[in-house]
Symmetry: C2
Subunit: 290 residues, 2 copies
């Protein structure tokens, strides 16, 4: 039994048509069991709450883009909540410039999109539309709706929104970096039985707090290096309790069992003032297992 088999309702960062919905469907639509229900939530925080309050079995939120970096709201929510990370899916992100079919010939006077999408196309926009006003909005789907009803307004979004909003593609694959991908996390209130427990392709996520003293971070990284664990990511975030103090998010290759068996966990406990395991999980690439 795995994450896929146990899941009836999947919440995602909405509205419909976002990359989070694409990620959720890519993860669950290949499931051999019955397709789950999907529910859309207005913010990352609301997805966390919906899972926590059991309106959903699993929540899907973005956590990092390969060119734009961390989604800090997701990290802050991970630290605050007691949800577990039970899976991860990496989705290639292709951005497109879309306009209303009806007003396709109107010159573009404004381009709207989510800030992450605008940031991913910054270079392209500067080259092709240097003088057009850019406007951030809360999601690409909301932007698509605006573009569908306002003459001269284009949107940057996935091709997913073309059909439902009566849009057409004006320029395709406009992201600045071809390797543009986003990592999405699957969150659950309970530890779900893993897809392939014991295999070496598990990843484990930790949040660590350390005293603000010289060499503190070096002391944290020591046990990983000396025991041969490969860090895939280290991200610092403000502690939110004391100005200019930080907490650290660390991902490494290995499962929870390896963390305990190797002595890593107890060695980390000795050099941190707080240590929380967010989950051990397997990464899927665009719906395919690694």
């Amino acid at each position: 039994m795995s994450v896929k088999d146990k899941t009836q309702v999947v919440g995602f960062l909405g509205p419909e048509g976002t990359f989070s919905e694409l990620a959720a469907r890519a993860y669950f639509d290949n499931s051999t069991t019955e397709a789950p229900e999907y529910s859309s939530w207005r913010s990352i925080k609301e997805v966390f709450l919906a899972v926590s309050q059991q309106h959903c079995d699993v929540g899907v939120v973005p956590v990092e883009n390969s060119s734009e970096g961390a989604v800090t709201e997701t990290q802050d929510c991970l630290d605050d909540s007691d949800l577990r990370i039970v899976g991860e899916i990496i989705l290639p992100i292709s951005q497109n410039l879309l306009v209303s079919k009806e007003h396709a010939d109107t010159p573009i006077s404004k381009i709207v999109s989510h800030k992450q999408s605008l940031a991913q196309c910054r270079g392209w926009l500067k080259e092709h539309y240097p003088h057009v006003q850019l406007e951030e909005c809360e999601s690409n789907a909301v932007a698509a709706e605006i573009a569908s009803t306002h003459k001269g307004v284009a949107v940057i979004a996935s091709s997913q929104v073309v059909e439902p909003y009566g849009l057409m593609i004006k320029s395709e694959d406009i992201q600045d970096f071809l390797h543009n991908s986003t990592r999405f996390l699957l969150l659950s209130k309970y530890e779900l039985p893993s897809l392939s427990h014991g295999q070496s392709d598990f990843k484990t996520s930790l949040v660590l707090r350390a005293e603000n003293s010289p060499g503190a971070l070096y002391g944290i990284l020591g046990p990983f290096a000396l025991l041969g664990f490969d860090l895939t990511r280290l991200e610092s975030r403000p502690s939110k309790t004391v100005a200019w103090e930080y907490i650290f998010f660390i991902d490494f290759l290995g499962d929870y069992q390896a963390l305990e068996d190797s002595g890593l966990f107890s060695q980390l406990e000795a050099v941190t003032s707080g240590l929380k395991c967010l989950g051990s999980y397997v990464t899927l690439f665009d719906g395919r297992s690694n």
Copy 2:
């Protein structure tokens, strides 16, 4: 001769009324020499360009907030450009809910602000205006202008914009964390003579690239720990060339001379594939020297 004495034109992240302008004025207005001219630029990237193309002597941009974390656009620009960090000022950030004086009694139906300001007041907004629509816009000053001309629209901003936009304070000091401060960097095309060369309160900023191999970051932090340098910050950013590879921004206490004399620089060169010093500089707190 110091940064203050040599500066005739100061560019800042505009428009007028932003915290960047407050920071620029707090830094230069206490100067003993003639007050500089100030010029406003539309984006962080434009401030970098303006300094690089010598439209300004110094540029002022935000780099980190104590509760919301890094301003990633500034970090990416620092890596791309050849500007030097020649100073830093830390400004306490007080956020306020402001409404148009004229329509002060109209119920609030929408709150607009820059995303960082909205994020800094997330908890307060949820408690006091849970059902009011929130809208991001490019700066608090632009938001102030919208609020001044639209009935029922409030803005989150510094009290600085009250006067010029005909607003009034509805709620004061609404940021979620009382210690809310932002660090602003001063950028220059040329290394300016330092304010207090040789003193111990210098900070130095580096960007480092390392091979993507187990223990690589541990290897980078080793020389700092073993030579007794105190890291004040470590931030990872996507390398932008290979997906899921990172570069590291490191700040530590000490000046460039100490970096060379101690052997730290040559030790770092041995464990990195790229090493760039962004500058050594002194921190001012709200216009006062530390």
